[in-house]
């Protein structure tokens, strides 16, 4: 991967000045390259990585396995696009194996997610079956450990 992407994927708030120093470039050049990535759609956005378990409001995430009937023309894409349009669906992937689509669905309450599944998802044309699992705790997300604190306990000076 381009080193520039590697850096902002780890920390999107790294300034163009700092990135320029890290990769022996200039701030103007870095800014231009980021803009190119944004224009061509390689960079789709920037967001904070939030530990949801720290938030006071209850919030549920469910992982849902969905079997669908592929179509003669278009395969999984048409039904997949329909499902992914729902704002409740935050991540969605086509999978190999016993089911076809894997959805990450968010809602404010268990009931809200359950009714999304039974009323909106399961009733869609082409959806054969669903299996819903509620998420209990997040240990790691996007490569970042969410559980526990990290501190540097090395000697402050060593040879």
């Amino acid at each position: 991967m381009d080193e520039l992407l590697e850096i902002i994927r780890k920390n999107a708030r790294t300034s163009v000045e700092d990135i320029a120093k890290m990769i022996q470039s200039t701030p103007a050049e870095v800014a231009a390259r980021i803009e190119d990535y944004e224009k061509e759609g390689t960079i789709r956005g920037y967001r904070a990585l939030i530990n949801e378990d720290h938030l006071p409001d209850d919030h549920v995430t469910a992982v849902i396995e969905v079997k669908v009937q592929p179509e003669r023309e278009g395969g999984f894409d048409r039904v997949a696009r329909r499902i992914s349009g729902f704002p409740e669906v935050v991540n969605m992937h086509l999978m190999s194996g016993k089911y076809d689509l894997l959805l990450f669905v968010e809602g404010n309450t268990l009931r809200e997610v359950a009714s999304f599944v039974s009323e909106r998802l399961a009733t869609l044309d082409g959806v054969l079956s669903t299996g819903t699992h509620f998420m209990l705790k997040t240990y790691k997300q996007d490569g970042v450990l969410m559980d526990g604190d990290k501190h540097d306990d090395r000697l402050q000076i060593s040879p």
Binding site: E3, D18, A20, K21, I23, Q24, D152, R154, L155, I157
Partner: protein, 391 residues
Amino acid sequence: MKGRSRVAAHVQVLPFSGIRKFFDIVASRKDVISLGVGEPDFDTPWTVREAAVWSLERGATHYTSNRGDPGLRKAIARYVARQFGAEYDWDREILVTVGVSEAIDIALRTIVNPGDEVIYHEPCFVSYRPSIILAGGTPVCVETRREDQFRLTRPMLEKAVTKKTRVLMLNFPCNPTGAVLAKSDVEDIADFCIRHDLLLLTDEIYAELTYDSKHVSFVSVPGMKERTIFLHGMSKAWAMTGFRIGYACAPAEISENMMKLHQYAIMSAPTTGQMAAAEALERGDEAVAAMLGEYNRRRNYLIASFADMKVSCHTPAGAFYAFPYIGDLGVSSEDFAMRFLEEQSVAVVPGDAFGKSGAGFLRCAYATSMENIREAMKRMAIFVANIRAER
């Protein structure tokens, strides 16, 4: 017994490491950003730690063979062959030690006769000179210079060699200067060793951590393996300092005799560390590459920051140390480091802790987070401006 010292005279006269005094001062302060740490800030790769835990679970908690676990020695032989291009007999030519520190000690004690001269270069790691003295050798120091990018050159060595010289002791990539040797330097120095029939003791602990070109090991030069003790270990590139695993590759006769010292003093290197090391050598390349990329970005950031504040610094091409020159600011390294700590709460190590010729320099380790480096450089810019304003 009054008046009679209980400490042997030759140990009494041995100075403490120059780093120790500074360590005590830094340790007494809170919230210090330290660029003084000579070990990786990265966690040991999980696969390596997991292998250590598994070794404990399955009960691998006894001595290994004195030379080290056969599985690990075979892994070392394979690694050295693919990485440095030298074939070693895992059973007769490889010895697993407690870090490279032990390897240096027993190597010198194995090959140095009383009065033999050992050439080494300064600024260098703190244990080199004392280790030569404790082995009964006479240390002969060659000072590397900023204008040579702290490389060691043939003419410097030719000036230092005498009929009594027996060993040349090297550390490239170098702690504290970050210097590396080019392929032509390595060939030149190898030729020097052959011409003067010297043994070469080469500590290549930072071999994986080079940024602008791939490391060239002395053991890759034809005719050198036979006269070389090659030292390496897991501490730096794999972030495994606490596991205490190093190793020495040497001709069988030397290896066998080093083994005697190791056997009587140590028995065998810690077993858990050996198990972890085998995993690291076999499946650690990707983790090393990721850390290398991160070190490189930090290094570039430091160099650019020094340039911004008009502090001169040769381009450190290896290890994880920058060695900027502050001698033109009108303060000594020690005063700079003390005041920088007091006024800005940033710790760097005065260059002369690594030998007299380090005076005027600072060792800034970039084995710390980008956030710390950014903040430390911001404070250094302020501090340097203040010092300039005072003059």
